[in-house]
Symmetry: C2
Subunit: 486 residues, 2 copies
């Protein structure tokens, strides 16, 4: 094995992907692709580090992630070995060195291709991977897979598996006050898939679309790509400044808003703004997408009602995702459509056939129907509240001179304003080289470079806390981050 390692681990030192992540990924792919088999001995960290010309600590980081995920097992003095019991030796794909992936931090701002390890500490927008009920999930999934019927294999309704649409309708009615019929619920390929689909249904090309500034970077980039004309509406402490939107583009076709937890600044859209937005949509005949990506997570006080539940004009398209409540690799989200859009969208869904694979839909439905979903959310709410408090305290202790952290008790990340004379993009670029995944707030604004100036109000960091299992981890990461503020 030692001899093979040099061909398997081809590093790209110029890439933005940190070296230890590259090592991790190459090994993982080599095991998954059958280049390495169960029981193969892997080189010692010392040997590999010298072979690759990198620091031993870098290799150790990668190995600890691989050991943590069970891809490697350690046998003490004997070294570490590949653990891949299910892949029969000799039936793998031919040996081939995976090329280093081209990564683009703009187009792919959530590089979290790996779980555990520093890449998820501080990464915003991810659920706690260590707390997902893997055993329950695996049990439900295995059960479903054993009992597939012939009908499960055939062409399915591209709108989604009906029982799942019913379960989601029930869930939203109870948890978010959204009264809807199952036929208004469409299953989508995550939130990006929902936006892509809506851009087809609503014909957004050349149309004015209000988008919060700052606002979710992937949505912004995609809407630009489909040819929408983005009207970046500023955000203040009450959320999107609706009157500014009306001033800038009174006849926009669509407004995209994150009312329960502004993405990324975390305040809720105030009651009066909600009313103002709905009244505008009603009179302008505009659609409103309520991106409720984090609506499940609120740690004190009462949530404001969802925009959709207040929508007497039937203009609100509610968008939710299982990426935050279950896990992102599912690629499952959902829309609740106004009645008047159901026919058009049904036709488009049948035309584009972008339905999701049936298997994951069956399992998610069981997970909800058997009560695991609500139990899991309840647990995550208390876990995230703890991790949030703990991380906040550590960040304040270690970085209090540099960061002002928002006080909103909701969501899965902090937006932290930089109050010392440093720019977010420089900090993030250095820090993420260590394998972290924080975001620069200025990248989420309409005018990125300018916003990144010191003392600009959007010169800040977006810091996730859901995957920080203990204070030691938080402190270690915070101290590493602090190193870039000197």
């Amino acid at each position: 094995m030692v001899k093979k390692s040099a061909t398997i681990i081809t590093l790209n030192k110029a890439a933005s992907e940190p070296i230890h992540l590259q090592i991790y990924t190459r090994f993982k792919e080599a095991v998954e692709g059958g280049l390495l088999n169960d029981g193969d001995r892997v080189p010692s960290t010392r040997v590999l580090a010298s072979e690759l010309g990198v620091a031993r600590g870098t290799v150790e980081s990668a190995y600890s992630m691989l050991l943590g995920e069970g891809i490697f097992v350690s046998k003490g003095q004997a070294g570490s070995f590949v653990h891949a019991p299910f892949r029969p030796v000799g039936q793998a794909t031919p040996a081939r060195t995976p090329r280093p992936r081209k990564t683009s931090s703009m187009a792919h701002p959530e590089p979290g291709l790996v779980a555990g390890g520093p890449s998820h500490v501080f990464l915003p927008g991810s659920p706690a991977y260590d707390a997902f009920p893997r055993k329950v999930w695996s049990r439900l999934a295995s059960r479903r897979m054993r009992s597939l019927s012939a009908g499960d294999f055939s062409y399915r309704d591209p709108l989604g598996y009906l029982p799942l649409r019913q379960s989601i309708a029930t869930y939203l009615r109870l948890s978010r006050g959204v009264a809807c019929e199952p036929q208004q619920v469409f299953i989508t390929v995550g939130y990006q898939g929902a936006l892509d689909f809506l851009s087809r249904c609503l014909g957004l090309q050349g149309k004015d679309v209000w988008m919060e500034d700052p606002g979710y970077i992937l949505a912004t980039s995609m809407l630009q790509d489909v040819g929408a004309h983005l009207v970046r509406v500023p955000v203040d402490q009450e959320g999107m400044m609706v009157s500014e939107g009306i001033r800038m583009s009174p006849h926009a076709s669509l407004a995209i808003v994150t009312p329960s937890h502004q993405s990324p600044l975390a305040m809720a859209l105030s009651w009066s703004r909600r009313m103002q937005l709905l009244d505008w949509a009603g009179s302008a005949g505009a659609w409103v997408i309520e991106d409720d990506y984090d609506g499940e997570f609120r740690y004190s006080g009462y949530p404001l009602p969802s925009l959709k539940s207040l929508d007497q004009y039937d203009r609100v398209i509610y968008a939710g995702t299982f990426s935050k409540t279950l896990f992102p690799a599912l690629r499952l989200g959902y829309l609740v459509l106004p009645q008047s859009l159901v026919d058009t969208c049904t036709e488009k869904a049948r035309l584009y056939q972008l339905g999701s694979s049936i298997g994951p839909q069956l399992v998610v439905n069981d997970f909800i129907a058997e009560g695991h979903f609500s139990r899991h959310l309840k647990k995550m709410r208390s876990l995230y509240a703890e991790r949030r408090e703990m991380t906040r305290k550590v960040l304040r202790d270690v970085l209090g001179n540099h960061l002002e952290i928002n006080a909103h008790k909701n969501g899965t990340h902090f937006a932290a304003k930089i109050i010392s004379p440093h720019t977010d993009q420089a900090i993030v670029s250095g820090f993420n080289q260590l394998g972290y995944g924080i975001h620069a707030l200025s990248r989420w604004t309409a005018n990125g470079a300018q916003s990144s100036r010191a003392h600009s109000s959007h010169n800040g960091l977006i810091i996730g806390f859901t995957n920080i299992a203990n204070e030691k981890t938080a402190e270690h990461a915070a101290r590493q981050l602090q190193g870039f503020f000197t």
Copy 2:
């Protein structure tokens, strides 16, 4: 239960969906949605028929499908009962009558939402559902589900699971002569998802696109919807008439072609046309999508090499799907991109994040890597050859005066020209009321209504044969079809 049936089975007699399929679907949904529980007795066919005011035979058809799929079990004199052992009683979604679905035969020409039963006899474009190795699949899927690692839950590369991309590259190299690197292989949401994605990558709006006439109806409708300008290029016995395409639109951006098995007429694109098409694409700087939807199925002679394997200009985008080789509900297809498109498409894939759920990708990869895929294809090739011959003989015996069936020994369906004075759309509309799913060839042409005239060369039927298990089934269906020719 008898009292509940009237609320569960709400028929829509005006809908195009046949009554027995409506009954089947409502029961299936009621069981899946928890309105009916394991062990519930269902009404007798006589009682339900009288309640609903339909013929008893109609209810019997539906019940035989439900019994065949194991959703009902028969206990002889005691009647039939719901069989749903895994759904715990009382944890279902609230009682709610599913509304009849709106179905549109144009937008959704493959109504095959059900397996078994007459809906799949003669339905084109489906694999043999009775011959899919469910046990092997379930075993692999359960195994994978039991061994999910934390990394499987996180954000994954939207281009697809790398080992699967490697497996597909290997498979295509061996079976279709397509030499490609894994990084050229992109996993898509079936073929429609591939087209949707390519329309984003290539920016097809307002561009000329060659499309065969007749040609795959869903692709045609979608391309029109994305704003492409379709140039319908006629097809003769050698496939797409490339010189006509050049005459009609010499500077088109894209040509979409089905070289191994023209969709739907079944001839292969001749060698000289392949060369002519590639030369044109090379000099015009146009892209060519090779839709190899049925390339795996050829029953005699040697296949022509894939267009992609002949492509010295690097203009061919190869598109394949697991919908025909595994099953449609997977929603998994793949593209092999020219090297020069890899960067653009990678960026778009990361922007739109339309990646497929990880679970099905893991299972498909195991299925290929462990040799099940090639075994399955080999079996299906001989099974389809048999079913093809048997169905052809029956159609000739029963309908020889009305239909002229093509002689191409490939694919999964017949294109049959109507030689008596009947129009395909009238025949199909009547016949499919019985629950079948044949297609009218004229619907696949640029000028549907005109093509449907008697004696028009595209007045014909598209008839699948993969799900016809025996001669009795073929004969029964053929005789029913014959009834509409009198």
